[in-house]
């Protein structure tokens, strides 16, 4: 997954016309690492959707402005609008279920 930063967040997420899923993570977060391969698999099956990650340690302003207070948090955007917020590491079937409406 490509990384976005506070400098690129506007252009790559908020101004992006399509669907973008942002994975808020950090090095020290074990559950974040567990969720990454699961997201990778979902990303592979949904080539029309962009999956990116944002390191909350290096980009605290973005996390703060979007009220991300737990990680991993997944924020699903469409046309720059926040459509869905998923907090915590979910198993693959649960994550797929949670994202189904948004991916459809």
């Amino acid at each position: 997954m490509d990384a976005v930063t506070q400098d690129t967040f506007k252009a790559e997420v908020l101004d992006a016309p399509g669907k973008v899923l942002v994975d808020f993570w950090a090095e020290w977060c074990g559950p974040c690492r567990a969720v990454e391969p699961v997201l990778g698999e979902i990303a592979e099956r949904n080539p029309g959707v962009r999956f990116v990650k944002l390191n909350v340690d290096e980009n605290p302003q973005v996390a703060q402005s979007l009220e991300v207070m737990n990680i991993p948090t997944l924020l699903a955007f469409e046309g720059g609008q926040l459509k869905k917020r998923i907090v915590g590491a979910l198993s693959k079937p649960k994550l797929v279920e949670e994202l189904a409406d948004w991916l459809a």
């Binding site: 977060c29 559950p31 567990a34 207070m69 737990n70 915590g88």
Partner: protein
């Protein structure tokens, strides 16, 4: 283990190691010897079948002649208003996951055991103030953990108090608590609430399958055999006295050996049966 900030009581790591690193090393070591790992996958049910067990996970169905259960424990919820509502908006059960997101903010830790105090110390690195609300007038944490916590300048203890409600608009803004000695009500403005009020064994899927004790922990004998054949248990969710990684690892080794013995015995019986009734009388077999 993976959400413990620093593990200092596991042998072989004199400088301590983060829970995540230790878990990662264990995983890689197991994989090296052929273990096939499934991560963040839950077991839905477990059923006995002729010749073994059927394990249904939320992704697949696996059959096995023997199963070692090690479902572990999860943070207990306190059940106060606002707790579920603000999950992900200031309510957390994992300081090591979320602590750094509370840089220069005020947070509250609820609980008085080792986890509450140690995770509170971790939060104190980031937060401006860490309030610890405890329902008694003394901590249950070890002496060394208490000593460190009392010496931490930005740790503030609220004794004999119980949190009644978490308040806020879209995210946590404060907690309301009650002083249990005089019944007075107070409000503590905070951005984060971290719960450390005990643990619950993750054994719901075992109800009616294997014997559990009144608190939901799995009952075993000294060989870590559960009430059902071919089903073994180890770790924090087993009814034992000590909840430590070193203990869980030791139990894991014992359970693996016992499971192997169980399988060997099954194989031996199968060989005898297939060899026919005369087999046990053969001199070669008596030497086994």
């Amino acid at each position: 283990m993976a959400v413990t900030e620093r593990v200092e009581n596991y042998p072989g790591f004199p400088e301590g190691i983060t829970g995540f690193e230790l878990a990662d090393k264990m995983k890689r070591q197991a994989a090296q010897f052929g273990a096939d790992l499934r991560e963040i996958t839950g077991v839905v049910s477990l059923e006995q079948r002729t010749g073994g067990w059927l394990v249904v996970t939320d992704e697949e169905t696996v059959t096995a002649r023997a199963v070692i259960l090690s479902p572990g424990v999860e943070a207990r919820k306190l059940g106060v208003p606002g707790e579920a509502e603000f999950m992900g908006r200031g309510v957390s059960y994992c300081a090591t996951c979320d602590g750094p997101l509370y840089r220069d903010k005020e947070v509250v830790v609820i609980g008085g055991g080792n986890a509450a105090v140690e995770e509170g110390m971790f939060l104190a690195r980031f937060a401006s103030t860490v309030h610890v609300v405890h329902r008694r007038d003394a901590l249950r944490a070890t002496a060394i953990a208490q000593e460190r916590a009392f010496a931490q300048p930005n740790m503030h203890f609220v004794w004999n108090s119980v949190v009644r409600r978490i308040v806020g608009e879209t995210k946590v803004e404060a907690v309301d608590y009650e002083d249990v000695l005089d019944g007075s009500q107070h409000t503590l403005p905070v951005s984060g609430v971290f719960f450390y009020v005990g643990q619950l064994p993750q054994t719901d899927f075992l109800r009616g399958v294997a014997e559990l004790n009144d608190d939901g922990y799995i009952v075993t004998d000294n060989h870590l055999r559960t009430s059902r054949p071919g089903l073994f248990a180890c770790g924090d969710a087993r009814a034992g006295l000590i909840k430590q990684i070193a203990n869980a690892v030791g139990e894991g080794a014992l359970a693996a050996i016992e499971a192997e013995r169980y399988l060997d015995a099954l194989d031996f019986e199968a060989r005898q049966t297939s060899a026919g009734v005369a087999a046990p009388a053969r001199p070669a077999d008596t030497n086994l």
